[in-house]
Structure formats: structure tokens, C-alpha cells
Point group: none
Chain length 198, copies 4
DNA sequence: GATGAATGAGAGTTCATTCAT
DNA sequence: TATGAATGAACTCTCATTCAT
């Protein structure tokens, strides 16, 4: 108990510090101080700054892949799958805002992160997303003439930009805003933004 | 001549080093070495790492704003304006790949960058983009029921994700791919990704 | 123990290095080397060169003020108070020669020191000294027609010049010399230097 | 003409910069900028920072020695000689305040200065002063029982402290204050500060 | 005479990490 | 488990000085 307590306090502190300062400017001493432990203990449990960071980021990827695999295997309607993907991001923003911030600010575009094995993490996600898009095409929901790559970029780009704007502005996300965002993304992605014919 | 030569060599070297290592891990000595000058000279001309970085990023924002203002004021068809915005990003990727990389990796999501006045730079861009979306709604091209904020996020998110994937994968961009990407974004944004009725 | 040992070793080393090279030319690496520790440890304990220097100088001011307050409050004869003030400086020269050197060379006239809050430190000392001079006037020992400012400058100037000459010449101060200096200062200050009438 | 103009502008600028920042923190670029010339020209004329500083300080010593030699050789009354010495310092403070500031802040106590041949400069001055004190004793003005060393320290210490207080406080010196300071120093030095018998 | 581009030794400081206790 | 003293590589930045023009 006590052991897990301290470990979790360190991880929580790390989430805050990485969010506030970014990986490069986060100091182990900051993390230890915010967790209320000595920095020796951070090393005792986590070995290095990089390991601690990777551990945190790994929980994100792991959750993301789980969700994507689940949707891929699911028998739900295609539209429902898209909704679930959008909701996953928005829910994570609500429930684990620090993790979401770190993903946006330190992972999804960071050259530093990508010098490591980071690119492959993304490619795996994109690949899962593409499979779902292919399924949408095969089931007759999506236009077969548009490449699944492109579909993925547009769909994911919309979500990521939404999330990023909220992260950067530290905006709260109410249930109502969440629904409106979801439906806006879906509507444009499926039906386009053009003016409705009467 | 000689003077501008050296200054430009330093800026070019900085573009490469910032692209490769990111702001935090870029060393002034790297930049100087790659430019073939002493690091004293980098300070002679640019004062500090931060100033040098800001100078580079400023050229990006300045070009971006110019383009957006031009499109806003233009009398071209709405669809044409969207095409021009997309082309601006793709052209910059082709002509100034290092600048584009830095924007993607160090600016558009960097927590470090956003602790400074960075957020306002984005808001200004989004605001210009929204004005164009509003124009599209007023001219009857775009659905008035979707908020201009949302339209902006979706449109820009698609572009940014395209660019990011190319940057991270260091992919070349042929004219043909450029055209296909443009039309994919436009088609989905305007008409949606749903399967075409026969 | 060990902790205080190292801290004191660093302070002692700093006293030597600041004395030998002055603040501006003292290198933190010198201090660390002379203390037999890494320079990281100097920063661990003292944060910066300036903090370390200020800490040292503060001990001087603090001791000086304590002595002056003590004399002010004392019920001793006025002449005795002057003797005690002179003795304080001479004793400090004997017991803490490095501190005295630093005061003479780096504080009492240093433009660098005075750009900080240094001037006020002096004014406080002068002010305490003046109060004692006023007391001397009120008790009928000192000539009321001479301004307490002037009395202070002359009295203190004599002491400081004695000390400075010893510091600059690295002269030893025997008990006997100490007594002769004290009585010379007192005699001239009180009775003047003019030839004695027979 | 033009040549001397620039040289003098550089020296004047150096006086200001050395006064404001002290030798260690004065930058050649500051001096050049304040003189309105390139820093290459400062080197062209003066060779190095140290040479420039020494040149300035040398004018002080040279003027001081001239005055002291003049007084030594003079047939004036002893008291008059003391007055002239005091006046020399006060006049220099009025006419060349920057030079006086530099002497007080950077020369008279600076350990940096004294690592060079600085101490001998002082000893020469003290030696001249002592000769005058000896003359005072021999002519029956000064008490023969007080060592000429001590007489020198007390007399000079009074002057230096007066000057220092004005320098540090950047106080103006009116003719009236000048007279009062002179007579206070003289009175105490000759007759002492003790209360006058009625 | 005059400029300022160019150099690079050198200094302060940071901070991840180790390890004795 | 837990601490924080201790280390030193690494980095940014300064600035006196040189020298081609």
C-alpha cells in the first residue's frame, strides 16, 4: 500500500511537471519535490527520467491501442465506432487531463520523442485507424475513392485539433460541449461542411 | 555580401539543427559548427538561442498571416481560397522543409513554445481562418449550422495532420501527391467522406 | 557534522579566494578546488557565487551592527566606547583576517558592491556611529560645534585607514602594535595632533 | 585636432563606464559605444582595457604626487599645507568627479588593483605625507610623540572618508560645504574633538 | 584612421545520476 | 525503503582581442 502510494504520488507529480514544463525542462528534483519525496526515491523506483516519461506515455499508447482494437473487433455500426473513437479522446481529456496534455505537447509532434521509437507508435495507431476506414468502405459507408490514409488523416486531424485547442487554452469540457464537438466532427467527416440543399 | 552570407548560413544551420534535435537539445555549438563559423559569431549576430529561434519562427508566422490576409481580402471563389490555404502549407513543405518541420515539431504543439506568447499566435491564425469560414457560410457554400470554430479545427486539422505525417516520415512530396492530398481534403471537407450514391 | 564540515570548508575556501582575487576574478572552480569538493557541491549548498559572497559579507555587517548596538546601549564611559569600536576592528583583523580583507577590498569602496543594497549598509553603520558621537557631545566629552557627521567620518576614517594599510601590506598585528594604534587614534581624535604645550 | 578629439572622447567615455560599472564589469564595447566610436578604434589608440585603465589612474597619481611634492617644497605655513592637501581632494571631486569616483571605488582599496604594482603607489603617497608630518613635528606644530605613520593615516583617513561618502552618495559639493569640511578636518586633526574648555 | 566581423578561452550554472548511510 | 550529499559532463553566454578591409 504505502509502496504503491508513493509510486503513484511520483507518477502524478511527474504528470504535472511534464505537463507544465515539458520533458526537456522538467527536472527530477521538481518531480520529487511535488511528490513530496526525495529525488533518490524517484530513481529507486523508476531508474531514470526517460524511463519515467516512457512509462507515462506507454499508458497512453496502451489505452489507445486497446480502444482501437476493441472497436476494430466490435460488431457495432461503423458510425458508432467513429463516435467511440472521438469519445475516447474527449473522455481522456476530461479524466486524465495531464496525460492528454503531455500527449499533445510532448508526444504527438515532438521531434525529441520521434527520434526514439516514437514514429512507429503513431504508424501503428494510423494503421489501426485505416483498417477501420477500410471496413467503412467495405461496408458501404465510406467513399471507396478516397484513400484510407487520407480518411485517417482527416478524421484524426479533426480530433487532435479539437483536443489541442482545449489543451493549449486549458479549456474545461462540459458534457454539452463534448456532444456538440462529436457531432460536428462526425457530420463534417461523413456529410461534409457544404451548405444543405433545402 | 559576406555579411549576409554568414548570417544566412547561420540561419540555415539553425534550421537544420532545430529540426534534427529540437529547440531544447539543439546546442549553439552545433549550429555554429554546421554553419562553419565560431559560436561567438552566432551570438554576435543573434544574441541568444531564443532570439535565433524566435527569428526563425517569426518568418513562419509572418508568411502564414500574409497568406491568410491575402485570401481573406481576395475576391476569388470560396473553394479557391481553401485550395490556396492547403497549397500554402504543402508548398512550404516543399520549398522550406526545415521550417515546416520546426513548425510541426517545435511550435504547433510544443509546451515550451506555448509558455511564451505562442498561444496568441495560434489564436490569430484561427481567427483569420474563422473569418474565411464565416464568409463561406454567408456566401452559401458552408453549412450555417456548424460553428466556424469547428469548421476551422476540422479544416486545419486535416492539413496539419497531412503535413505532420510527411514531416515525421520525411516523405517527399511530388506534384501528383500534392494534388491528390489537396483534393482529398477538399472533397471530404466539402462533401464528406460518405459513400457516393450512384 | 560531515555536512557542516563541508559547508564550512567551502566558506573558508571562499574567504581565501575572494580575498586573493576579489569577487570579480574569483572562480567558483577555485573555491571548490580549495575546499576540496566538486563545484557542483558549492552550488548545492549556496546556489550562486553572489549568494555565497553575500552570505560572507552579511556575517561582517551583522557582527559590526551587534557591536555598535552594544556600545550604544552600554553605560560605559564615552572614551571606553571609542576604544571598544577601535578594538573591534583590530580584533577582527587578527581573528578573521580574510573577512577583514574582503571588507576592505571588496565591500567598503567597491563600486560593484555599492550598486546593490550596499550603500544602505554603510549608512546604517554611520548612523549608529553618529548616535554615539551625539552622546559624546551631550555628555560633554565632544565639541558640540563639530557636526556628528564629521566626527564620524574622521573617527571611522582613521580606523579604516589603519586596517587598510595592514590588509594591503599583509602586516601582522601584535598586541603591542594594537595598543599603540588604539592610543594614537584616540589621542589625536580627542586631543588633536598639535604639539603639547610644556 | 580630430585625433585628439576622439582620444579624449574615448577617455571621457572610459571614465564614465569605469565609474558606473567598475573595472571588472566595464566592457570595451560600452566604452566605445559611449564614445561614439567603434571598439576597434579604442584598441587602435589604447591597446587594451588594462592600458586604458592604467592611463586614467596614472593621471590621478601623477596629479597627486605633483601636489604633494609642491607642498613639500613649499615654504608656506604647515597649517596651510594641510589645507592645500585637503583642498586638492575636494577640488578634484568637484572638477573631475569621475576620476575621483574611480579612485575611491576601483583603486584605493581594490584587491584587483593591488595585485598589480598598486601598493607601491600608495606607499609613495604615504611616504610623501609622512615627510610633511615630520616637518610639522620638527617645526613644533605637531606632537613628536605620535608616529608620522599614524599621523598620516589619521589625516588621510579623514579626507578619504569624506570623499568616499560623497562619491557613494553622489552628493554635490558646494563651496560652503567644502569650507566646513576642511575646517572640521583641520580642527579635529590639530586640536582634537574634545569639548572646549570655557 | 576607422570599422565591426570574427574568434575562442573561460566562466557561471544546471541537473541527471550515483551512492553511502 | 528512503534520503540528500556529492559529482562532473554539458551547455549557454560573455567579452577582450585580432585583423581584413
Amino acid at each position: 500500500m504505502a509502496k504503491n502510494d508513493k509510486q503513484e504520488m511520483i507518477i502524478d507529480a511527474a504528470l504535472e511537471v511534464f505537463r507544465d514544463k515539458g520533458y526537456a525542462n522538467a527536472r527530477m528534483a521538481d518531480i520529487a519535490r511535488r511528490a513530496g519525496v526525495s529525488y533518490g526515491l524517484v530513481y529507486h523506483y523508476f531508474g531514470s527520467k526517460e524511463v519515467l516519461f516512457d512509462l507515462i506515455v506507454e499508458t497512453w499508447w496502451s489505452d489507445l491501442y486497446s480502444m482501437m482494437e476493441r472497436e476494430k473487433a466490435s460488431t457495432a455500426q461503423f458510425r458508432e465506432k467513429l463516435v467511440n473513437i472521438i469519445q475516447f479522446f474527449l473522455d481522456t481529456y476530461v479524466k486524465r487531463p495531464n496525460l492528454m496534455s503531455i500527449f499533445v505537447s510532448e508526444v504527438c509532434r515532438s521531434s525529441v520523442y520521434h527520434t526514439k521509437e516514437g514514429l512507429s507508435k503513431f504508424l501503428k495507431f494510423f494503421s489501426l485507424c485505416e483498417e477501420i476506414m477500410v471496413e467503412g468502405q467495405e461496408k458501404g459507408f465510406l467513399n471507396r475513392e478516397i484513400s484510407p490514409h487520407h480518411l485517417t488523416y482527416i478524421f484524426y486531424g479533426a480530433i487532435e485539433t479539437f483536443i489541442s485547442v482545449m489543451v493549449l487554452g486549458r479549456e474545461p469540457l462540459t458534457r454539452k460541449r463534448q456532444e456538440r464537438a462529436t457531432s460536428a466532427i462526425l457530420q463534417v467527416f461523413i456529410d461534409g461542411a457544404k451548405a444543405q440543399a433545402k
